[in-house]
């Protein structure tokens, strides 16, 4: 079996899929830290649907789907930021409306699309085994920018995640960090349409962060555990899909869920909460 897998790695599409797994796992996992700690899973959903809708519109007009997906993501980020800052509108409602609107745009586009629908379906499910060299280049670039962002602004990121309002009041450039985050989410999501697709990417925007939340109180470790679990889900998903000839996106998501379940089962945090509870009672 191992020989069989190593043999497969000599093929270019498999090599690309393996590299894409590392990049997709890393970029989605780093973002998931923000999604989980800043409690914004709906922003992840809206962004992934914006990317998907934008890409379908791109296909419709013979435009590069990554670019059009990214543009729609930026637009959504530009609308989301100020709207979620307004006290008179519940962000959940704004996101709910935006999310369903984008879904509508995507399906409308797919309905109108006269050519083969396979390319649009690929954007939905992703196709790790048919990536081009430029797909990999874009993924590499965006993942590097995200990693750099986390490394350079780590202390500001911690302050903003802890409490946006307090951070803003005490002279931390909170808006810069928050908007950079929204734009990076757009970039990561749209560049991963080709890998795991616009629907399944949501799993990777939540699961690695949720896994890390079970395991550590240290924010640096949190980012690392999240990245390792994201990459783990992508790589093991790819291997499972190759061995059993299953759809790659679905295998990745199911592996992600399995990793999360394992983290819950072995979570030292849950154990300590339980024992603390008992001590409290006695």
């Amino acid at each position: 079996m191992a020989e069989h897998l190593i043999d497969a790695l000599t093929y270019v599409p498999i090599q690309r899929a393996a590299i894409a797994c590392l990049l997709c796992g890393t970029s989605c996992a780093l973002l998931s830290v923000f999604v989980v700690l800043m409690k914004m899973p709906l922003i992840g959903v809206s962004m992934s649907h914006a990317a998907f809708a934008g890409a379908v519109v791109g296909l419709l007009f013979d435009f590069n789907p990554f670019v059009s997906g990214f543009i729609l993501c930026l637009l959504v980020a530009g609308v989301l930021g100020p709207l979620s800052d307004r006290a008179d509108m519940a962000p959940e409602n704004v996101l709910g409306i935006l999310f369903s609107f984008l879904m509508g745009v995507a399906f409308l586009g797919m309905g109108i699309l006269t050519r083969t629908k396979a390319s649009a379906l690929n954007l939905m499910w992703g196709s790790l085994l048919s990536l081009s060299g430029s797909d990999i280049m874009v993924l590499t670039l965006i993942t590097s920018v995200l990693v750099l962002f986390v490394l350079l602004f780590f202390k500001e990121i911690r302050a903003v995640m802890f409490n946006r309002r307090l951070a803003a009041a005490s002279g931390v450039p909170e808006r810069m960090i928050y908007y950079a985050l929204l734009f990076l989410t757009g970039a990561v999501v749209s560049s991963n349409l080709s890998t795991v697709g616009g629907l399944l990417i949501f799993a990777l925007l939540v699961q690695p962060g949720a896994t890390a939340l079970q395991l550590t109180y240290n924010l640096k470790h949190f980012f690392l555990i999240s990245a390792v679990s994201g990459i783990g889900a992508c790589v093991s998903g790819l291997v499972v899909s190759y061995i059993f000839d299953l759809p790659s996106g679905a295998s990745v998501v199911l592996m992600a869920t399995t990793i999360f379940a394992a983290a819950c089962a072995f979570s030292p945090k849950r154990r300590s909460v339980k024992t603390q509870g008992k001590e409290h009672v006695s």
């Binding site: 008179d88 802890f162 005490s170 924010l219 909460v273």
Partner: protein, 258 residues
Amino acid sequence: MNTYCIELDGITVRKARGLLLDGISLRVAHNEFVGIIGPNGAGKTTLLNVIAGFEKFEGTLSLFGRRESQMRSRKTKLRVGYVPQLFQIDPAFPILASEAVMTGAIGRLGLFRSPGTQEREKAMRLMEMMRVAHLADRPLGQLSGGERQKVSLARAILQEPDILLMDEPTANLDIAVQKEVLNLIDEIQSRETLTILFVTHDFNMLPSSMRRAVLLKRGKKVFDGDINTALSGDTLSGLFQYQLETFERNGRRFVSYG
């Protein structure tokens, strides 16, 4: 210095549901400790938010003799510290008490600079002063409400502000812990050179070093003066439209809600 630390002139805050603040004027000198007191919906928090830069307003606001709008420079933000009401935090959130205190120094450090020994030592000193040094390595979400508020105070002072704004810092704490936090606020007032604005609705839970009270009702200032005069039965009964009696003990006035 002959300018005021905080100067408000005709501050009005308008929302779709009505006026939250209606032409408030107020002058606060350097190192003064002022209580902003009033019933729910009086506009206390809105007033604090205007000074903190969280709220758009009409009228003139000057801080340290300079006119300010809602948008501030980083330099001005650094000079205004803020202690919020006790807020919820996920017990699993990855931040230790000492790291939460340290977030107070981040704005001052600026981008691309890490906190050094100096900041760490100061944070530890403040945590000792707030009696939470022994909790430094505990996750913040696992501390009690009172402990979290003490961390919040240490965090605000680490910022080295000239003005400290406190929005009901003792709300939702039990009585003994409220008293302890108030004593710590008195200690801060005596040790640091600070102008403090303290918002509350509870007349009986005031820091003893607070000498001046501003009473608000429905967005308007209805009293501004000595705390003991503010706590006279007549002033308060008018404010709440409810007969309240006050009595004196140990040189301070208290309100009987009976």
